[in-house]
C-alpha cells in the first residue's frame, strides 16, 4: 500500500470513529424520558406536603396537591428541578434545587417527591412507569402501502362481492 492510500485509509477510519463518537454522545445527551412527579404517601412517608410546585428550566411544569401526579418530558441523563414545597395550607414555602440522575433504561420514571425530600435512597423513590396501550393503540390497524389501491379494480372485485 503506498503512502497516499495509507493516508486516505487513516482519514476514513478517523472520520468513521468521529462519527461513531458523535452518535454515542447523541445517545446519551438525547435520551428522552417522561418524568412523573408524585405527591403521594408511601411506606416511607405517611404525611405528604399540602402542595409541591415543580419548575424545570424556570418553567412551572407541575403544581401538586396531596395525592396528585404531574409530568414533564425531559432530555438527557439528569433532571435539575426547582421545588417549592408548602407543608401546610397557608404556611411558609421552602424552595430548593434538586438534581436527579435519570436511569437510562427507563422511558417513564416516577419520582415520589415526599420520599425524595425525606432523604430515602434512590431505589425507594424512583420507579418505572409502565404504560398500558390505550384501546385505540391496541386496535388492529389496516396498513395502506399503496396509494393507488383500488384504482386497479376494473369491476372484478365489485362483481365478486355482488355475486
Amino acid at each position: 500500500m503506498n503512502n497516499s492510500k495509507k493516508k486516505t485509509l487513516i482519514y476514513r477510519i478517523a472520520a468513521f470513529l468521529v462519527i461513531m463518537a458523535i452518535a454515542a454522545v447523541m445517545f446519551v445527551i438525547g435520551r428522552g424520558h417522561t418524568v412523573y412527579f408524585d405527591n403521594k404517601s408511601s411506606d416511607l412517608v405517611a404525611e405528604v406536603p399540602y402542595k409541591i410546585e415543580v419548575k424545570v428550566d424556570g418553567k412551572k411544569v407541575a403544581s401538586l396537591k396531596k395525592n396528585e401526579r404531574g409530568m414533564v418530558d425531559v432530555m438527557g441523563q439528569k433532571l435539575t428541578m426547582e421545588l417549592v414545597v408548602t407543608e401546610e395550607k397557608g404556611g411558609d414555602t421552602v424552595q430548593m434545587k434538586v438534581t436527579q440522575p435519570l436511569p437510562y433504561n427507563m422511558d417513564g420514571i416516577i419520582l415520589n417527591i415526599p420520599a425524595m425530600l425525606k432523604g430515602a435512597s434512590q431505589d425507594q423513590y424512583v420507579s418505572e412507569f409502565i404504560s398500558v396501550p390505550s384501546e385505540s393503540d391496541a386496535a388492529e390497524e389496516v396498513v395502506v402501502t399503496d396509494d393507488t389501491a383500488g384504482l386497479m379494480d376494473f369491476g372484478e372485485e365489485s362483481e365478486a362481492s355482488q355475486g
Binding site: I19, I22, A23, V25, M26, F27, I29, G30, R31, G32, H33, D73, M75, D107, P133, D137, A138, A139, E140, E141, V143, V144, T145, D147
Partner: protein
Amino acid sequence: MNKINYGDLLRRFSVPLMFVIICAVCAPISGLSPSYLCNEIVTRMGRNAFLILSLLIPIMAGMGLNFSMTLGAMAGEIGLILVSDWQIVGIPGMILAMIVSVPISALLGLFCGKVLNMAKGREMITSYIISFFINGIYQLIVLYLMGPVIPIQHSNIKLPRGYGIRNTVSLLSMRQKLDNLIPLNIGGVKIPVATFIIIFLLCLVIIWFRKTKLGQDMRAVGQDMGVARDSGIDVERTRIISMVLSTVFAGIGMIIYLQNMGNIATYSSHSQIGMFCIAALLVGGASVEKASIGNVFLGIILFHTMFIVAPKAGTVITGDSMIGEYFRVFVSYAVITVALIMYETNKRKNKSKAGEQLALAQEEANE
C-alpha cells in the same frame, strides 16, 4: 453586440412566467393575508429547500432529474423510525437519525449509480422505476422485518400484531426543534434561522464543490461523456459519486422535512416527495440539463405559493376546494411533462442543427 432573442428568452422562462401569472391571479382571489402567505412560504422553504438542493448534483453530472431521490428519503425515514424507538429526542435525535441514514443512503445511491451506468441516456425513467423497486424492499423491511429482525420495542410505533410499523409515527419529540432552535420573528413571520443556516451551508458546499476537481469532472461528464472519458476522467465513478451525494443529501433533507411536519406517514411520505421536489425545481426555471441554486429558491416560492393559494382560489371561484386540489396536482405533473418535452425537442433541434452544420462544412470542403 449580441442581439437579445426574446423568443428564446420567453421559451426558456415560460414555466416560471406561467407560475408568476397563476400566483398573481390566484393570490388576491384566495383572500389570504400577505403575512399568512409569507409565513407559509418561509416555512415551506425551510422544509423543502434541502431536499430540492439534493437534485442539483446529478443534473450537473448530466444524469437529469434524480427521481430516485426517494431512496434517500426512505433512508431518512428508517433513521427516524429507529431513533424514535430508541427514544432519542430533539436535535440529538435528528443528528442520530442522519448518522443512521447516511450509510443506508450511500449504499442505495451506490446501487442506483451502478444501475444508471448500465442505462446511460435513460437515467430518468430508470431512476423512476428504481424508486418503485426500492419502495418494495422498504415495505418489506418496515412491514415485516421491523419487530422480529430489527428490534422495535414501543407499542406506539409497532403494529398491534407484533411486527411492522404503524401507518403514522409521531415525531412530536422532534417537531420543529431545528426550526425553533434560533427563534426569530419579523413582522409576524416566523423565520426558521437554524434550518436556513444549514440550507445556506449546503448552498456553499455546492458552490465550492463545483470548483473542485471532482465538480469539474462532473460538469465535463455532464457536457459530453465521450470527451470526458478521452480526457482521462473515470466517467462511471464520477456518475456514481454524484448519485451517492444526491441520495445522502436527500436522506438528510427528508429528516429536516419530517421534523418540520412532526410525523412520518410511514408508507407514503417518500412516495410523492421526488415528484414535488422535481416539479418545484422545474417551476424555478431549471431544465433537465441545467439547474442552479437560484432555480431552487424561485421554484419553492412559486410552486408553493401556487400550492397554498390554488385550493382557496378554487373554493372562491367554484365553491369546491377540490377543484384547486386537482389543479395543483395536475399542474405539478404537467410541469414535469412540459420540461421533458422541451428537453427532448431541444436535444433533437441541437442534433439537427449539428447535422446541418456538418453537411455545410462538408459542402464547403468539397467546393
